[in-house]
Symmetry: C2
Subunit: 317 residues, 2 copies
């Protein structure tokens, strides 16, 4: 699947992933009216509104981008009905040829991580039959529990040729609270050496991924926020074979020129996520002219602008 992601990036010339993180406040009024007329102001109505929104956006941008990243929390907030639409969105995007990165940030102790891994990336044995669950292509994984919490995901990645992105340095303002804390290493001749926790985690990403390589990159990638370009530079060098999923473009602050160091010399190695910046483009001044009726065309324009911004920055590198 890492090979397919790279193929898709080459085909589109866009190392971009569209974050399908639909809050109800982003969904234009006419879609909400349509969904609520059919299902009422219920969880099912909300989920249907999200589905109509997602579908129209995907239909308008799927030819421009290699991948989408639905954020499961935005579906889970609507309970079972929301998760039904998460599943429908995953399936639909795969039918459209997109790589689907499930932003689920799961992670637990070994046997429990195994259940998440088979439920999202693998297959589950039911009696004599083998069934598939959510069946994303990639998912994001939280490393706080350590190797035995991450390795069950790596095992399923190997079996299924799928992938994970491990949280290393997240894009949010307080990510440094724990991730930047200086870890005391064995003292050397000149006193005590130390380095931030995210580097310790980054080193583990390399270790976990060493044994499951696609043609040029590992099945095990990392999440590093666009909002921390300096840390991105260090982590890029530390994890040369790890694809980096970079959230935080646009709405969270990062721009193309800040992101060039997330890429390797081969022009690959990073995929930049934008969520609000794409799916709620019509709510921004820049794309307001499209109006709520043509929200998905605004999304398309935002994808093109983002693609060109990143391509320009990479050329100027």
């Amino acid at each position: 699947m890492i090979n397919k992601l790279i193929d898709n990036i080459r085909k589109t010339g866009a190392p971009i992933v569209a974050g399908l993180d639909p809050m109800l406040k982003y969904v234009p009024e006419h879609l909400k009216v349509q969904a609520f007329e059919e299902y009422g102001e219920t969880m099912k109505g909300a989920a249907e509104a999200v589905w109509l929104f997602n579908k129209e956006i995907v239909d308008n941008i799927y030819d421009l981008i290699p991948a989408v990243k639905p954020q499961i929390a935005m579906y889970e907030q609507f309970g079972i009905e929301g998760l039904v639409v998460y599943q429908r969105t995953v399936n639909y995007c795969k039918e459209k040829g997109l790589v689907v990165i499930g932003d689920v940030k799961r992670g637990d102790i070994g046997s429990t991580s195994e259940a998440y891994a088979i439920g999202h990336l693998g297959k589950v044995q039911v009696g004599s039959k083998v069934c598939k669950g959510f069946d994303e292509d990639f998912i994001t994984v939280n490393p706080y529990l350590g190797s035995d919490g991450v390795k069950p995901f790596v095992k399923v990645c190997k079996e299924e040729k799928k992938g994970i992105f491990v949280l290393v340095k997240t894009s949010n303002p307080s990510s440094g609270e724990f991730q930047d804390r200086l870890i005391q290493e064995a003292a050397d001749g000149n006193g005590t050496a130390s380095r931030p926790l995210y580097e310790v985690v980054g080193e583990k990403v390399v270790e976990w991924g060493a044994d499951c390589m696609g043609d040029s990159y590992s099945y095990v990638g990392a999440v590093v926020g666009a909002t921390y370009p300096e840390q991105g530079k260090v982590l890029r060098k530390m994890m040369p074979k790890a694809f980096i999923l970079v959230p935080g473009y646009g709405a969270q602050g990062g721009k193309g020129k800040d992101l060039v160091h997330f890429f390797n010399e081969d022009g690959l190695g990073a995929i930049i996520n934008s969520s609000r910046g794409i799916i709620a483009a019509y709510m921004q001044e820049e794309y307001a002219k499209y109006g709520a009726e043509h929200f998905a065309e605004a999304s398309r324009a935002a994808v093109i602008a983002m693609r060109d911004d990143i391509a320009g920055a990479l050329e100027a590198k």
Copy 2:
């Protein structure tokens, strides 16, 4: 809800939570046959088998225990159908008067954590209506993203009088890989001070919970594994008002006598989880006499033994 948890513990004399983490291999053959006859060897059939299993266990132990902790991964592995049974289990246990701790280990950046928080503990606005999602009483939360990833959960806890348990020191063998790493603090006169990451997180738990107190304990608790009693002792003192959820009893190794230091002088402050040890008791030599047909009676016997083990250890303290 922390007050209800404490009331329930006092009523039952058992600071115990039963982990409803049903792997299909724990479900007795006759229930699988029954479920597969109705729904086939499908995700729905698997989920139904899990439901039959859960219901019979809950019916046999609900009067003995204050709370249950369904592990959502074990349901999520069966996709939507599994999550439907997760929801049914949550609802059923609440009807039985049990406090439900959803072991979901969610955590993300601010706006996304907010979606998880309202989906699991709060309410979601749909048009003019207010709807509820999974509606557990407590959930577990992963702190790796820092304060802005945790505070949205705390906010909903305040509004709903519900609670969270933040992962501080987990029970798994490699939990130390990151959680035990020594964090370099500001140097004092005698050189560089340092302490493990789990203490830094524990300190934050105190801070997050200070402002949302029940009668005697905070809505914000912590997860500390039974398998690390020495760390438990330190964390107990550091977080006097935090209830500690202690996984790892029995199958993972901990026993009553190892756990006394997780409790405060008031005999409260900790709730010990056992999953396999209770729900798969009939598969252990000790309870084999019950047989697969009477698996839920074996669970009852295991709960009574666990209650007595912990009560004995607390008396001897």
